[in-house]
Symmetry: D2
Subunit: 134 residues, 4 copies
């Protein structure tokens, strides 16, 4: 299973008064991770939306928080595909500290391919290979 790495540096805006990153921001980082998964294959998620009219609608998210992410640290997002077919895809994530020594969170997101009307649609064939759809 292929894993793609992306990096984000923690912004002040992302912290909360506990002095660590507010938990909802991890979902935004997962978004960064899956977009970079696309890019690593030489493609852009944006093009699928704009050119093919296919949206990846989020159907479920899960995140387990294991250690706090701190202001100004660099976080590595490791993204892989757990399951994919022409109807849906599940991305899996591991977020770790820059040196890899601290696992910050693990999780997954499940998405349904939809048309611009948000009704279920099939993933265009040209994306099958990079998404591992048989």
């Amino acid at each position: 299973m292929k894993t793609v790495e992306a990096r984000v540096r923690v912004r002040y805006a992302e912290t909360d008064q506990m002095g660590v990153v507010y938990h909802a921001n991890y979902l935004v980082w997962m978004e960064v991770g899956r977009v970079e998964y696309w890019r690593a294959a030489g493609l852009r998620y944006r093009d699928m939306e704009q050119e093919d009219g296919i949206l990846l609608v989020v159907a479920e998210v899960n995140c387990r928080y294991r250690a706090p992410a701190l202001y100004d640290e660099e976080v590595v997002i490791r993204t892989s595909i757990g399951e994919a077919n022409a109807r849906m895809i599940r991305f899996e994530y591991e977020l770790v500290s820059e040196d890899g020594g601290r696992v910050l969170a693990t999780g997954h997101t499940k998405h349904v391919f939809c048309g611009r009307d948000r009704k279920p649609a099939k993933c265009p064939v040209k994306y099958h290979a990079i998404l591992g759809i048989a």
Copy 2:
């Protein structure tokens, strides 16, 4: 000049590690303020977008921070119109603590009426009265 009041309770998500509200969130509260300005007149900004195809594109924001907003407190947003014509509108805001005793911030936002193509357009006549357009 008419002033409309709206209220928001500070969310944990809106705080940062200084233990106060992160400054960019005041702009979101200003948005809440101007939408309630619409509603106080029995109208909805949403309808202007959906039914008339007219968007209020933000052209400028200014905010002076006077006292920190704290987690879980209720903030009162006082919104008025500083200037308005068929092309643009400037909203003015005063954000105060629930008891009115502490001014948290003052500021303004300037907007240009645009069509769905984001090109300048005129404010529909039916909104002139509530926006004070002569």
Copy 3:
């Protein structure tokens, strides 16, 4: 099992270019829901942090998205407690449209009681009753 209702109106800031609410914002609404759970019992989560030095650290979140939340609509957050003991608590949520006719999302969050040093601590006894801790 007691259920507490809270309401939020969807902000423009919370939408994304799909024309619906960006999925991470549902987690912020869940936060609004559990704080109102506290308040409905005549207590404030804020006081537990400030006066007792006890934090509710998020350990896990799960959300299933069932229907899109739209700009300017009012969303009802129904919060209840799924499980609680002196060490941890699991809140459960159902997010529905204002008229109750549309379920937008369901989910849960799991939290660990921690001291200011973020090390596990016990929930103060005075909160046991409202949290249903035996």
Copy 4:
């Protein structure tokens, strides 16, 4: 006057239903810009907070929006110092498209040096040179 460049890629979370970046997010990017200004001088803003107990409290922000930023594009943040003394500092920003051809926004933020108690304090001498304080 020295100018430091930082880059951010527009996240889906940062867009709104107009199909462009929501305006409050530009303030977050300005934060990224000034932190990188520090780093370009071999220093970290984080250390000033943690080691010296000095916070840069935001006193004013101003932003003029000139062209919309779009999903997945890379935005260049050009940060410079407009004015600085031991009590306050004003950062100026120009946000441009990756190829430099489109100015997205210009603005400034004014900050006051404060101690951990949020009362005015003096900028530590060791930061004077990089901030251009005479």
